[in-house]
């Protein structure tokens, strides 16, 4: 589904060039649940931004399915991201002035879908995430875990093929974190390809494959040896 060939990314500060991604070669197949790990400054978030098509200034080749992302212009990349990718953030990044339902509707509103269709999709996801009762609340009326739940609902409402999550449980306590990770696993089971960035070993064991970065180099790429067992519902 995703293939990176020799992807590199650097930042220029004055005369110095700092490399944050070095010759990354990577293939992610459809339906995988990949965890990216590494110390701070290793390039995890940079890799995620490249994958999310939020960053344009990288070198190398990036294939998204059959699409050569590296040859797309900015607008085409934005279109591709809008159709195929969902993002979950550590700080949830819900818009304070919008209700839960409106926050979830936001990515749909950028796809020029008819209002009725959008309403139906939002209602479905609210139901699926069991947050119907909270649809009219504002983010500041929710707990951190609930906010992240809404963040994930917003990310998957348009059924993206790829779900990217940057430290999705970083601001949550362990119980909430576990619930969120279970949700990711469930989504993955339903066919969503997931790439998450995390510092947590426990979270990494919800995935099937771990990538490790050091100073921008991909230093480890292996399957998870001891996956977390599914919680009994």
């Amino acid at each position: 589904m995703i293939e990176l060939k020799n992807v590199e990314r650097s930042y220029k500060t004055g005369h110095t060039e700092t490399w944050v991604l070095r010759r990354i070669g990577l293939t992610i197949r459809e339906g995988e649940f990949v965890t990216v790990m590494g110390p701070s400054g290793a390039g995890k978030s940079s890799l995620l931004n490249v994958l999310a098509l939020l960053d344009d200034s990288w070198l190398g080749e990036y294939w998204f399915g059959e699409t050569p992302v590296h040859s797309l212009n900015r607008k085409q990349r934005a279109d591709l991201a809008r159709q195929r990718i969902g993002m979950v953030f550590q700080s949830y990044h819900l818009l304070d002035d919008l209700t839960v339902a409106e926050n979830i509707d936001l990515p749909l509103s950028y796809k020029n879908l008819p209002a009725k269709t959008r309403q139906g999709m939002v209602a479905d996801i609210l139901d699926r995430f069991q947050i119907v009762a909270k649809k009219d609340l504002f983010p500041n009326q929710l707990s951190g875990g609930q906010q992240q739940l809404v963040g994930i609902a917003r990310a998957v409402v348009h059924a993206p093929a790829l779900l990217l999550a940057d430290e999705p449980t970083g601001n949550l306590h362990s119980t909430q974190a576990r619930e969120i990770m279970e949700l990711f696993r469930e989504l993955n089971r339903q066919g969503t390809t997931i790439v998450q960035v995390t510092h947590s070993d426990e979270n990494s064991r919800y995935g099937k494959r771990i990538l490790e970065l050091h100073d921008g180099w991909l230093t480890r790429d292996e399957a998870v040896d001891a996956p977390v067992a599914t919680e009994a519902k």
């Binding site: 939020l54 960053d55 809008r82 990044h93 990515p107 950028y110 940057d166 970083g170």
Partner: protein, 839 residues
Amino acid sequence: MFSMLQDLRYALRQLRKSPGFTVTVVLTLALGIGANAAIFTMFDQVLLRMLPVEKPKELVRPHWHGSFSGSMSAFGGDEGDYYSYPMYKDLRDKNQVFSGMLAADRTGVGVTWHNQAESKDAEMVSGNYFQVLGLRPVVGRLLTPQDDTQKNANSVVVLSYDYWKTRFGGAHDVVGQNLLINGHPFQILGVAPQNFSSAIGGYRPGVFIPISMVEIAMPWMAPRNNLENHQSLWLTVVARLKPGVSAKQAEASLGPLWHSLRAQELTLYKTVTPRFRERFLDKTYINVLDDSTGFSPGRVDLKTPLIILFSMAGLLVAMCAINVATLLLLRASARAREMSMRYALGARRSRIVAQLMLEGALLGLAGAAAGLALAPVVANALVRLMTNADPGSEPYSASIDMRVLGFTLLLSVVVSLLFSLAPVFHFLRPDLAQTLRQNAGTASKTSQRFRKLAVGVQIALSVMLLGGAGLFVRTLDNLRDQPVGFDTKNLVTFSLDPTASGYSEERTPQVVKSALDALARVPGVAIAAATTDPMLSGDSEFSGFIVQGHKPTEEESMSFEDANVTPGYFAALKQPLLVGREFTPADAKSAPLVAVVNLTFAKRFYGSAQNAIGRQIGEHDDSAKTDITIVGVAGDTKHEDLRTEIHATVFRPFAQLLHPVGVQVYLRTAQAPETAERSIRQAMHQLDPTLVVDGLRTMEEQVTRSASDARALATLAIGFSILAMLLAAVGLYGVLAYSTEQRTREIGVRLALGAQRSSVVGLVLREMLIIACVAVLVAVPSTIALARLFRSQLFGVTTYDPITLAAAIGLTAVMVMLAAALPARRAAAVEPMRALRTE
């Protein structure tokens, strides 16, 4: 006290720390406060300031109501503002409520000192003038009732302080010396006090002359026999209430006296209809009005424009305060942690409020100081614009005095208080935990709402000021572009009064004729002519006429504009002669009396111009003769000023004038009129060096002067609107830039979730568009409603003029778009990756 000093030190340090912010705020306040100080400088002098005399609050002015038939002062106001000399004397001598009553009139005289002649404003005053006002001389003595006795028997004069200083070098030995008034020797008695100019508001005469000398000072009034005539109203009367008597009591006491005096006057009328009697006597009454500021018809003309300008300046300073409040709120967000920390460390709310108020007061005072530096320049321009005064002879001062200083201080305190309230409310109930937890302070919802409201108010005020300015500009255009009925190009004019140089009434026509002949020979001058009734000068000469075959109704006014013109007058002005002929030298004093009437006159009495020729009219006097033959009909012209409607007019030959007076000369030139000015002065000087060429200017300049009130309003309103637009644009930009910055994360999220950059631009603009639309919806009806209040100042344009309103909205829209462009561009350039990198 110590904490106050500490706060002051800290406040100064705060302001020094952000010089950009401080300078912006101070300049913004300087604009608003400076404009207000400048307008107040004039507003105060014209409308508020009391006369610099003893106990000015005791001064009152009797104002009468009722019918009247006769002549009235041409200085404006209505007839109830003026009194005949006999009536003044009766009221003065027979009342029980006044400790004194003075009379005065404005005029112009020729003053010759050491063989140098010049025209000078003079005030004809009753002998008790200075006593009633309670004034003391600077040098010599002032007039007393003994200096105002028999007609032509009191050749004495008092100099105003300014005139004494400028013309006589402040020399003490001028007292007792003689100067010439209209060629007659007058002895200088003394000098009036320094700060006193006149009992007539806004008037600055050079000399005070006893009323008994009226026939020398105002020779053209001689035929009216003004010292005896009950039907010539020419004096302004001011009285001082006896101690303990109120204006109401004085009014009650004067009523019966007034009625008996009127009954006496009625006996002087030869024919009295019951209707006239009813209105003259039964329905007449007298009011006693406050006169602590001095009566001035000019004040009436300036009142509305000044109120409009003051209101505009008020709106401007409100915008400045809102802008500063917005800026302070933006800064407050940046200081949220500082204030929260102060609270957390135990600061009382009152201490925080005091700190913020102190900072506001410092800004306000700095703004006031800068505004005061700006004010005299603006005030001077304002005085010149509004009074048409030449440099050096402005009737009002532009300098800052204690009253203006006090007003400015008060204004700056009020403004500071207002704009300081915004940050005070912002910090009154801080969410300590939230603020201290965050890396950077964020704006509260309330302050965001305030900023939006502030921007909305500023946009609305901009539309209103632009709308007002637009209406005044249209008025000015309409006034200037309307046909005046004669050709104003290549026309020079000046006033010439041989009587002011000592020529007798008999010699005046000959001097005028010689002057016109000499002027006609000046190279570049095609025709030279003169009239007794100048065009577009703000004044009109009216006389009563009878028209043969026309029986006027009781209500009908038979007073018409009355101009005595020399041969060639219509040709010089290029005023079309529709039928008949111009006056010629043959229309001499001894020749049959003839007249040319204007089209309005001809149509009113004869139906057409053609029918008027050969008809007879006569002057309204006891003889009731209709011995004047109409020999021509001229086209209508604007006469008094550009606004006043065209009146029926009778032109008569200057040579047939019973008592010749000074004239207004008109010269039609072949080339640019300015080039002939020097030759004109030379020609007059060669004829007689004592003849004064007064107020020499082109007719185009005269037209501009005639539209001076409209021009002043339009110019100042445009100035205010530009400032308002700038303020609104800066405010708008500040709010948008800040809110865009605050929304960077939101914009990043939206972009990350698939929003297109154009929709982000839309997001920023939409917010502004909604505010702007609401503001315009409020502003347009408000503009129309406000414009109705100053309808009297408009000409040829409705208060809801769609072109003006559309232009105001259009300009505001451009301003909004320009102010929003940069923040919108910045919003579109947000990189989601960076915006979201908060983890």
